[in-house]
Symmetry: C2
Subunit: 109 residues, 2 copies
């Protein structure tokens, strides 16, 4: 069973959990209330997020409060970010191309 940040953020429910917990720390039930699926399903998602370090769970009384450790998203960030320049190049050359078309059009008017 793979358990890494890429697999963790592949699931839309888990991404939403991360989004929600980034707003405020919540108990397991408070997280589950925000979704249609059952509480055990959310519990499992939280376990997966916990296992790859993205979420930590702190016991306080009978509740468990969950919070995000954003720094564990860094490996995913770095992998994608290394292609940043390449899509910027593309977008710039697209903009250049559009500008060329615009200028040509302007000259023809």
């Amino acid at each position: 069973m793979r358990r890494d940040v890429f697999q963790a953020i592949a699931d839309p429910v888990r991404r939403e959990i991360i989004d929600i917990l980034s707003e405020s720390e919540l108990s397991v039930n408070e997280v589950a209330e925000r979704f249609e699926i059952s509480r055990p399903a959310i519990s499992k998602h939280l376990k997966i997020l916990d296992e790859c370090g993205i979420v930590s769970i702190a016991k306080r009384g009978r509740e468990r409060f969950c919070y995000v450790n954003h720094q564990n998203l860094i490996p995913a960030f770095l992998w994608v970010e290394k292609y940043h320049k390449q899509w910027e190049k593309r977008i710039n050359s697209f903009e250049e191309y559009v500008n060329q078309l615009r200028n040509k059009k302007d000259r023809n008017e």
Copy 2:
């Protein structure tokens, strides 16, 4: 069947395919040669990458050449990048903490 960039890059083989094709455009067989798994398996991975726009496949003769469209990684980049500041804050405060310790130690020496 979900087919989005997050699901596409969740698989390590697909990430490696993206890495390899970022170096140079390759035919399907040339991609497959670089992996232990069978050619049809690679074919399927390429199909998935194609379906979510990350890889395009151009027929030339009997070969099909594959190349990456990096701009289709942007949605994944944006989702992760929005937490950039939060882990930077963390890292900065860690560095601050380390510096405090250092200064304290310096004063004690």
